[in-house]
Symmetry: C2
Subunit: 214 residues, 2 copies
DNA sequence: CAAAATTAATCAAACGATTGATTAGTGCAA
DNA sequence: TTGCACTAATCAATCGTTTGATTAATTTTG
C-alpha cells in the first residue's frame, strides 16, 4: 500500500545515501544503486525523476532533522556559552556516528562546477551555520564572549575540526591510533574526547570570564 | 626536444590538476583535460599510461614542495610557539591562494573505495601532520603549552579550519560576505585575518603563559 | 457485489551519448 | 631507414534515461 511505497522509497534513499557517500555523485551509478537496493533501474527515475533528483532527495530527507535540533537549542533560555556547548555535544553525538552523509556533503560542496546542485546543498548547510552564528553573536553582544572574536572563522573551526575528523578517515585513524570505524572506540573514547576538546578550545578563545576554577 | 616534452607534460599536469580539482576524479574526463590542454587525447595515455596514472602524476609532482617547508621550520632554534606561528603563516600563505590542489586532496581522501589511490595521498599528507605534531609535543614537554592539550585534535583544528575555508567556497563566501575567488580580497583581507585568528585561537588553547599584554 | 475502467507500480530491453583506451598510420628528426 | 612524437579514427564498455508492455491495485460503474 502507501506504506510499502514509502518504505521502498526510503530503502532506495538509504542505499543511495551510502553509495553516494562512498563513491561520490559521479562515481556512483544508477545501476549500482538500483542493484544494491534490489529494485529495477527504471524505478529510480520513476520515483525521483533523475539521478540528480535522487541525489537531492537524499539531501532533502536529512534537512529537517538537522534544522529542528539547532533551532530548539537557540531558543532555550540559557546563556550563549551553554547554547554553544549544547550544540557541540549534539553535533558530536549525531555526526561522528553516522558520518557518511557528512562526507557526502563536504565532497560535493568542494566541487566548483555543478552550480545547481551545490547551490542547493549550500543553502541547506547555511541554515545550520546561521544558527551557530546567531549564538556566537549573542554572546559577543552581551559581553559573555570577547568583543573581538572572529565569529565567521570560529564557525569555520567548529565545522572544520569536525569535518577533518570524520572526513579523512585514513588520516584520523593514523593520527589517533585507532580505526575510526571501530564503533566501540568511537562511542566510548572518541566522542567524549572530542566534546571535551571542542569546549575547552572554544571556551579559551571565546569566553571573557576566564575563571581558573574552570 | 626533451625540454619541450617536459614542458608539454608539465602543461598537461597543470591543466589536469585544475580540472581534477574542479570536477573530481570521476567527474573529470580525459577528453576534457586533453581538450583544455590543447593536446591529442591519446597523448595522455602515451605520457601517463592511463587516467589514474595521470592523476597520480599530478600528486607526485606536488609532494616535494610541501615537505621541505615544514621540516625547515621544525629545525629552527626557536621555541615551540614561534615554530607553530611560523607554520600557520606559511600555511595560510601557500594554501589559501592556490587552493585547488588542497580541495583535490580532501575530496579524494574522503572516498571509501579507491584504496591504492587514497593510501598514496594519505602517506603524503601525514608527512605534514607529523611535522606539526612534533612541534606541539615539544611545547607540551617543555611546559610552554598546557600539559593536558589534546595534540591530535589540535592538529585536526589546524588543518580542519583551513580546509573548511578553502574547501567549501560557497559556504565561505556566504559566511564571509566576499567572493572567495576574489584575488585582491584574499590577499589583503582574508590572509592576515586568518593568520591572526588562527594564532589567537591556538594561543588561547595551548600557551601556558597567558600574559595579558599579549 | 461484480465487472469494467482507470491508475499506479514494475519490468526487460534498448536508446543515444560519453567514457577510457587502443589502433593504425603520418611526419619528422637523427 | 629507424625510432619517436603525434594524430585521427575507432574500440568495447558503461553511462543515465526512455520506452512499451505487463502486472497489481484502486475506482468507477451497472
Amino acid at each position: 500500500m502507501d506504506k510499502d511505497k514509502i518504505d521502498k522509497k526510503d530503502h532506495i534513499l538509504d542505499v543511495a545515501e551510502r553509495v553516494f557517500s562512498d563513491l561520490g555523485f559521479d562515481g556512483a551509478s544508477t545501476r549500482m544503486i538500483s542493484g544494491e537496493a534490489g529494485v529495477n533501474m527504471a524505478m529510480l527515475n520513476y520515483y525521483f525523476g533523475s539521478k540528480e533528483g535522487l541525489f537531492l532527495a537524499v539531501f532533502e530527507r536529512k534537512i529537517s532533522s538537522f534544522q529542528a535540533l539547532l533551532q530548539n537549542i537557540g531558543n532555550e533560555s540559557i546563556d550563549a556559552w551553554d547554547k554553544l556547548a549544547k550544540c557541540i555535544d549534539n553535533y558530536v553525538d549525531r555526526i561522528i556516528v553516522n558520518n557518511c552523509f557528512q562526507k557526502l556533503i563536504n565532497r560535493e560542496l568542494s566541487m566548483s562546477k555543478r552550480s545547481e546542485l551545490s547551490d542547493k546543498i549550500t543553502e541547506m548547510v547555511m541554515i545550520n551555520v546561521w544558527e551557530i552564528a546567531k549564538i556566537l553573536e549573542e554572546g559577543v553582544k552581551n559581553g559573555q564572549f570577547f568583543k573581538d572574536v572572529d565569529v565567521q572563522l570560529a564557525i569555520a573551526t567548529i565545522f572544520g575540526t569536525k569535518n577533518y575528523i570524520i572526513n579523512a578517515p585514513n588520516i584520523s585513524s593514523t593520527l589517533l591510533g585507532h580505526d575510526i570505524k571501530d564503533e566501540k572506540y568511537l562511542e566510548e573514547r572518541l566522542k567524549p574526547r572530542v566534546k571535551t576538546y571542542m569546549k575547552r578550545l572554544l571556551k579559551a578563545y571565546l569566553v571573557n570570564d576566564n575563571d581558573n576554577t574552570k
